[in-house]
Amino acid sequence: MTDAVSQPDQPETFQGGQSDLFSKFDPLIQMRENLLASGVEDPFGLVMERVLSPTTAICNGRETILLGTYNYMGMTFDPDVIEAGKQALTDFGSGTTGSRVLNGTYAGHRAVEQALCDFYAMDHAMVFSTGYQANLGIISTIAGKGDYIVLDIDSHASIWDGCKMGDAEVVPFKHNDIEAMEKRLKRIPEGAGKLVILEGVYSMMGDIAPLKEMIAVAKKHGAMVLVDEAHSMGFIGPNGRGVAEDQDCLDDVDFVIGTFSKSVGTVGGFCVSNHPKFEIMRLVCRPYVFTASLPPSVVATACTSIRKLMHAGDKRAHLWENSRTLHAGLKDAGFQLGTDSPQSAIIAVIMPDLERGAAMWEALLHEGLYVNLARPPATPANMTLLRCSLCAEHSAEQVQQIIGMFKRAGAKAGIV
């Protein structure tokens, strides 16, 4: 008998008291308990029992208008999209059970990547299982030890996590501040690789970036540029390619990151690029390699949706009209908004604090309206926000209904 068999795998007794690794969450647990003790419905425990359309659902037993789903183009119930998904389920089964680089690339995965190349008029497209993984994978892989990442301080969690996963030096600058960005670029040691990371639309406040100016500065200092267009695809720009297209600087963007879980109406993430060596990413990018690929039905729905979004000019126009109407209506009602003018399909309503924000959120839910309650630390400047995201399928009448709901709930919660 060897020692390995006669000895237990682990020590049998702990020395001293066992430390609870969950202690670090105590402040958050307390904050949540305090909030729920006030009797408010749990803002982070909502269940949609039935979904009736891209804009309505039964939530917690009530018929509710959806104004917080990022379903900008309302593609989730498009008959062609649904049909493509059903067909793929029948023809290819429920899942691929494999990595893209092994058994997980089906005809549908190739087809959706071609649809992305056509949509953006770019040479290469790489599809990930989520948008989060697209940022995680691309950023952590292209910026390595000794390289510098210069990024906006209000960047999405997936961007920060991508930075943390890689080995590059991470240098943030004040939100949308071109001068602050340039100062940092100037100070980077000569010869170091540089990646500037920006977003087209910042999802918390719904504001856009001055991409044209920022990208020009980045290029002047020899940096490569990655732009996350998750919240603009399908909607902003003449062809729905995003803010960079709208500001006529898409050609200077080295990598566009996007998602299928907003305008496209399913789940998945991607990167499109014209970089001549881009295809090597499929072998070196760990969040691409070491995970299962998207199910055939998902890539089929995404492909159909993306091709339809190329010709969705009328829907884009209606969504802009909705955004302008809601922004003006809420501003006139006396709410404090994240932007002076409507810049995207997101309108952020600023709440005085978390307690009143939660009360307002609940009052809206009772009116039959769902919005996102966003709270620190996800929000800039520790603000509590009610974040509204509009849909091209919201009717003009629904938008008026929404404004009425906000007025009544705002009065009830003592906000306006």
Partner: protein, 79 residues
């Protein structure tokens, strides 16, 4: 530039951020004693970077917990 002179310049820079008027020495901690949140850290770091024309990356910031460590880091970065 020696440590004393560097420290003197940082002493001046931190004043507007030290809202509670905490007495600062080398052992003063930014989060626990000065209660800096992430936005304050960003603005304070930007002020130091501009003053000394250096970059204090997030990676470098993660190693800095006390005032003394910050002064040492700036001295080192300034070379």
């Amino acid at each position: 530039m020696d440590r004393e002179a560097t420290k003197a310049r940082i002493d001046t820079l931190i004043e507007p951020f030290n809202k509670k008027g905490v007495a600062i020495d080398d052992a003063t901690r930014f989060t626990d004693d000065l209660e800096f949140d992430s936005l304050t850290v960003m603005d304070f770091v930007a002020a130091i970077e501009d003053e000394f024309d250096i970059i204090i990356s997030m990676n470098a910031q993660a190693e800095i917990e006390t005032y003394g460590q910050l002064v040492d880091a700036v001295v080192k970065l300034k070379g």
